[in-house]
Amino acid sequence: MAAVAPVRVRFDAVSLEFATAAGPLRVVENVTYEIREGEFVAVIGPSGCGKTTMMNMLAGFVTPSSGKVLLDGRPVAGPGPERGVIFQEYGVFPWLTVRHNIAFGLRLRANRKPEAEIRDTCERYMRLMGLADFADAFPKTLSGGMRQRLALARAYAVRPEFLLMDEPFGALDAQTRSNMQNLLLEVLATERKTVMLITHSVEEAIYLASKIVMVTARPARVREIVEVPFVYPRDESLHEQPEFGELRSHIRQAVMTEYRAQQKQARRNSGLN
């Protein structure tokens, strides 16, 4: 079934260079892969390798130096409400209460809705994300997990087709992170989206994703793409399955190899200076 779903996003020989004092720095090099409708793609690689930059290109914050990032066949031109983004630092607006944070997107001209509908949407997502008791609280009183749930609710409220997540659970403790993963799977089961997840956690990638793109140390290239064989809905028992363990050790090995390459590279560079 997944094989016939249409391609929504295509990275077509994408490269990106940043100009630095020491000359151009190549961050992403000749990256090509596709994301199909309804797919959950996890991008995994050593930290600082350029995977966030890939997401920023799809989000429309960064334009590639060469190659194209195609969204439904057209090059990405700036951010848009059909691509919801979840940041690691949450980015909830501190001056707005929980309710108004969720309503923020719905009050913009791009996706303006009648007040009654906004209220309903807010109530719905507050209930779904377990924030109903905090409707009128400011974010300063919320825990990290709650802030991330709020960010998720706010992104979902404008009904994006895509969800781009940049290490969304990286700042959370282990229990909260695992809760959030399950919540995400639950929410996705009710409202399917096409997802791109940037992560450095191998378990998280396997547990959540339907396809994993492993990238190399900087400059980021595609090292390998694996399809995750498990079907949705998934639950915690997945972690105990032998295939999970096999996949995990395979991916971990790849990530560690790239990590070591990156360390070596860093040492070499510092040796030069």
Partner: protein, 114 residues
């Protein structure tokens, strides 16, 4: 003020953009709310400077009012009247500062404080 705007985290602007905000909406719904605390701080500083200037000019050049009252009283050595003038000036300044602080507390209740 300028410093305050320059310090606004680009994260909030990015979030607003991904939700579909236009430049104008970002200015009205993100930049302005984030600038309010800085506006209030600037107001308090300005209030202090304005009062100091006002008192000085009142004492030097005023024909009427508290400054003139103090000036005239000092010419006749009426200490009680001088003190009334000084206390009045102090009280008014205190009241204005209090009002401003009340307003700040309400407007920036969302801020995390230490």
């Amino acid at each position: 003020m300028y410093e305050g705007i320059a310090q606004i985290s680009p994260l909030y602007v990015r979030v607003a953009r991904t939700l579909g905000a236009t430049d104008l909406e970002i200015f009205a719904k993100v930049i302005i709310p984030l600038t309010v605390p800085h506006i209030l701080t600037a107001l308090r500083v300005a209030l202090g400077v304005a009062w100091a200037t006002l008192v000085a000019s009142e004492l030097i050049a005023a024909q009427q009012g508290l400054g003139a009252l103090i000036q005239n009283a000092s010419a006749y050595f009426l200490l009680d009247v001088i003190y009334v003038g000084i206390i009045c000036i102090g009280l008014i300044a205190l009241l204005m500062d209090l009002a401003l602080r009340r307003a700040s507390a309400r407007l920036v209740a969302w801020q995390e404080r230490i």
